[in-house]
């Protein structure tokens, strides 16, 4: 039995405190994934907290034949995407949000490119944006992404190829402006 499953059984047996180990292990990854999607630190924090509470409340529904990490990644992803859909008051990535991405110590041109990339990413269809984030920001393998999104690996691959192509086209259009 893997370490995550042992902790889950302990929590389900009433040892609520063991849930700390789950939080400790996953909170940074989940927070950063949420942030990459919603582009807002406070919202990412709220999402992370909500996700952990949701996980705790539904722990008994977790299928131990599946990987725990893919389950919590999927919940974080869905919560973040739902949050993004609901928060109509937030504009797609702009200079203000892009400042979160860009490093003030690097030169203007690089920051400008970071802003363009953020804008392009937000213009992409959700399914392509998600794939690029999981693959390139989170450095997950195709198999891992397939488990999270419940897609065959071949589908993940072909969809990511399209996503890269679309990103290239969008950035190309900025270059031509």
């Amino acid at each position: 039995m893997n370490e995550d499953n042992e902790i889950i059984i302990d929590v389900l047996n009433g040892n609520i405190n063991s849930f700390r180990l789950i939080i400790e292990k996953y909170q940074r990854k989940m927070y950063n994934l949420a942030f990459q999607i919603v582009n807002d630190k406070d919202s990412a924090k709220d999402i992370t907290q909500d996700v952990f509470i949701k996980i705790f409340n539904h722990l008994k529904n977790f299928n131990s034949n599946k990987k725990f990490f893919s389950w919590i990644y999927r919940i974080t992803l869905n919560e973040s995407l739902n949050w993004k859909k609901k928060s109509t008051y937030l504009e797609p990535i702009d200079e203000l949000h892009a400042a979160e991405y860009s490093n003030p110590s690097v030169d203007y041109e690089k920051n400008e490119r970071a802003i363009q990339i953020s804008k392009a990413l937000n213009k992409l269809d959700e399914k392509y944006r998600t794939l690029l984030i999981l693959r390139h920001y989170n450095e997950l393998s195709y198999d891992e992404i397939g488990e999270i999104l419940e897609l065959p690996t071949a589908k993940v691959k072909s969809r990511l190829y399209i996503a890269r192509e679309k990103l290239r086209n969008l950035l190309g259009s900025y270059d031509n402006e």
Binding site: D10, L12, N13, G14, N15, I16, N17, F19, R20, I23, E24, Q27, R28, Y31, N32, F35, Q36, K41, K45, T48, Q49, F52, I53, F56, N57, E100, Y101, N103, R113, A114, I117, S118, L121, L132, H136, Y137, K157, L160, Y161, R164, E165, L167, R168, L171, G172
Partner: protein, 246 residues
């Protein structure tokens, strides 16, 4: 130019998945200027995208989340979980939930009624209780009360009713491989009562009249026991072994 082949090989190059044979194929395709432009453009785009990754933020939400979880666990008790479980599902599930609700409502009504005559039953030494599968009565110098056992859908419900003039701690101990703590509901509280849990026990702290429903999830489907110990200060004033028959 074979576009789809070039796309596939360029993406495989980005993912570092090219075989020796594919490397040669790609080299061949890149001899064409147009292909080379495409290759450079896509690899640069992905390279820039990789570099645009937001800095990894450190965060520590552990205490905040655990506080919320503990608060929820203490305030939601078991009934909420039971009902959310019951109301999940199809029409049959709803019908079942309705029937269960009716049974629970009737049981609670009967319990309430019987509570009034509890002392009298106890004085007469009655050990049987029709609304519960088992009932245990306690008559000690410092306190009196009862522990009744009910079974419902994989849950063992212990109805603990205690009357005491001094602070009395009741600890229910169980095997964590056989039961897990599911929730506790305070039915009557004449003074500030508290409870705490571990993975193999529930501790109820009482003064005056208190009544609780303690829900334990039955993890194994065979007879077992829950041990109840009653403490006044540092002294054990009573012990009780509760048979769990289902």
């Amino acid at each position: 130019m074979n576009n789809s082949k070039l796309t596939e090989l360029t993406n495989k190059f980005i993912d570092n998945e090219l075989t020796e044979r594919e490397k040669l194929q790609l080299d061949e395709l890149l001899k064409i200027e147009e292909n080379k432009k495409y290759f450079t453009s896509l690899t640069e785009t992905v390279g820039q995208f990789n570099k645009s990754k937001p800095p990894f933020n450190e965060i520590n939400l552990e205490e905040k989340i655990m506080k919320k979880i503990n608060n929820e666990s203490n305030s939601s008790f078991g009934l909420k979980d039971i009902f959310s479980e019951l109301f999940k599902g199809n029409k049959l599930g709803y019908a079942f939930s309705f029937a269960m609700g009716l049974i629970i409502a009737t049981s609670l009504f009967l319990l309430q009624k019987e509570n009034i005559s509890l002392d009298e039953q106890f004085i007469q030494g009655t050990a049987a209780d029709r609304s519960f599968d088992e009932a245990y009565f306690l008559d000690e110098t410092s306190f009196n009360g009862s522990v009744k056992v009910k079974y419902s859908e994989g849950l063992v419900i212990l109805d603990v009713d205690l009357n005491t003039l001094e602070q009395l701690d009741c600890e229910l101990k169980f095997n964590k491989n056989e039961f897990s703590f599911f929730g506790v509901k305070s039915i009557k509280s004449e003074s500030d009562s508290k409870f705490s849990t571990s993975n193999s026990s529930v501790r109820l702290t009482n003064l005056k009249g208190n009544r609780y429903l303690v829900f334990l999830k039955n993890l194994k489907d065979y007879p077992s026991k829950v041990h109840a110990s009653f403490y006044s200060g540092n002294y054990t004033v009573a012990n009780l072994t509760i048979d769990i028959k289902k």
